[in-house]
């Protein structure tokens, strides 16, 4: 069920979670009930693009443009799979 993320999926931040920039930690963090994950730069670059509107394909293209690299698709999908498993993300129809 969770593994079904593909190029056409539209991921969004999971309900109960909140993504925000924390200048005190100089990082994006993901907040959830009584907990917090401090995100590294690549995780943040992906998650900030998960707005429930853009597809995975859009997100990958945008990342490749922003960082001037190709072939990010597999890494992004792998990360999204992990994030879905942890409920950081959910898929929008």
């Amino acid at each position: 069920m969770m593994g079904e993320v593909n190029a056409a999926s539209r991921p969004a931040i999971g309900s109960g979670f909140r993504l925000q920039w924390e200048s005190a930690q100089n990082a994006h963090v993901l907040l959830y009930p009584e907990g917090m994950v401090k995100l590294n730069a690549s995780a943040a670059a992906i998650l900030t693009r998960c707005d429930g509107v853009r597809t995975v394909e859009d997100i990958v293209a945008d990342l490749e443009r922003a960082f001037s690299v190709n072939g990010l698709g597999r890494d992004v999908l792998a990360f999204l799979g992990l994030a879905l498993e942890r409920h950081w993300l959910e898929l929008r129809p």
Binding site: S15, E34, M36
Partner: protein, 377 residues
């Protein structure tokens, strides 16, 4: 500089990421069935709204981001919505820890509008009340109403039940109740032995046998309900051989403010002797966190004694809980005696053995009917 030398220096800590506001010690649970007016005599000691808001602003400016609102019963404060709204505006993730008593639809709607992120419904009840609760449809209906409201406003249903020797044999009933209430997460947290619980530890600590049965019951229940309900079972640390890394080390990430404004590096820390805890009425949060002797006292490793001082595991557990070390050994700088390297570990073993024996003697009473347990309360 080696890692070891670095760790020994009292480094400037990071920000107090976790802020807990104990808004009030008032708790209508003591008189829930008689609807007595709550005790207004203590109000004078509680911080005023503007003071709580100042605490929020100062802590947030330092980098605090997770906010717990608890008590007593935080709903006893009429300005709870104001506090939540300001916290939300500042960018806190707001967690309300409540018994649910006083949580009307009107208040929940207002809290949701104010930006409340999460609710934890908790039962920090004594045995008598838990048993009343388990047996009384009236209380059950009250809690169920609250649970339904929580769902209606699209919060996950998170239930926290404090477990001890006198209710641990009812874990089955507790889980069934949680299921009927539609709980999605249930935390069965064993009592931590500080304060009142410490004084009554021989009445509250379960036996190994009780623990084992409770874990079995929980495991079977998990298998039946599957992913519908996630259950966390927290074993009392007396049964371990290594202490918990208490609070990630005192003064590292956690800051609590008591109703009267006293700032604490752990809500149990008030028991530590010879420490004067600063008050937010007199000091800024920044000065309290970075400069006060109370918050600096157990930072770094200079305060440690043997065996922690030279222990390879000290960076993992920081020597355990200071309050527990003080309560059991009389010196807060000793190793937490839960650790089997502590020369005082036998004190913990003895309490566990006593619990094993005593539970054997009392078991029939607790088991046979709920009122039996209430008598033992």
């Amino acid at each position: 500089m080696s890692e070891r030398e670095q760790a020994a220096l009292p480094r400037r800590p990071g920000p107090p990421l976790w802020l807990l506001l104990e808004l009030t010690y008032r708790c209508p649970l003591h008189c829930v069935f008689c609807y007595n007016p709550t005790d207004f005599s203590s109000i004078g000691c509680e911080l005023e709204t503007a003071q709580w808001l100042r605490v929020l602003r100062e802590a947030r400016a330092l980098g605090a981001v997770q906010l717990g609102l608890s008590g007593g019963e935080p709903l006893a404060r009429e300005d709870l919505e104001t506090v939540v709204a300001e916290a939300h505006r500042l960018g806190f993730y707001t967690n309300l820890i409540t018994s649910g008593i006083g949580l009307t639809e009107q208040r929940l709607g207002a809290l949701k509008d104010a930006g409340l992120d999460h609710i934890q419904l908790s039962f920090q009840d004594s045995t008598r009340r838990l048993n009343d609760f388990l047996s009384s449809t009236r209380t059950f209906e009250l809690k169920s109403r609250v649970a339904a409201l929580i769902k209606k406003y699209r919060y996950p249903m998170v239930l926290n039940v404090v477990i001890h020797r006198l209710n641990i044999d009812h874990i089955d009933d507790i889980l069934v109740m949680a299921e009927r209430m539609g709980a999605e997460y249930v935390e069965l947290a064993n009592t931590q032995y500080y304060g009142w619980a410490w004084l009554n530890r021989t009445h509250l600590l379960p036996s190994r046998e009780q623990l084992r049965r409770a874990e079995d019951v929980t495991q079977r229940f998990r298998q039946r309900v599957g992913s519908r309900m996630r259950i966390f079972f927290v074993v009392p640390d007396y049964f371990e051989t290594r202490p918990k890394p208490c609070m990630n080390g005192l003064g590292q990430v956690f800051l609590a403010v008591a109703p009267d404004g006293v700032a604490l590096p752990c809500h149990a820390a008030r028991t530590l002797p010879g420490v004067i805890f600063p008050n937010v009425r007199e000091m800024s949060i920044g000065a309290i966190w970075y400069d006060s002797p109370a918050f600096n006292r157990y930072r770094g490793e200079a305060w440690m004694k043997d065996p922690c001082r030279s222990c390879p595991e000290r960076a993992r557990d920081f020597g355990g809980c200071r309050c527990q070390a003080y309560l059991l050994t009389g010196d807060a700088a000793n190793a937490d005696p839960v650790c089997d390297r502590s020369p005082h570990h036998h004190l913990v073993s003895r309490i566990v053995e006593q619990a094993n024996l005593a539970a054997g003697a009392e078991q029939p009473l607790v088991f046979r009917d709920h009122r039996g347990a209430a008598v033992a309360d």
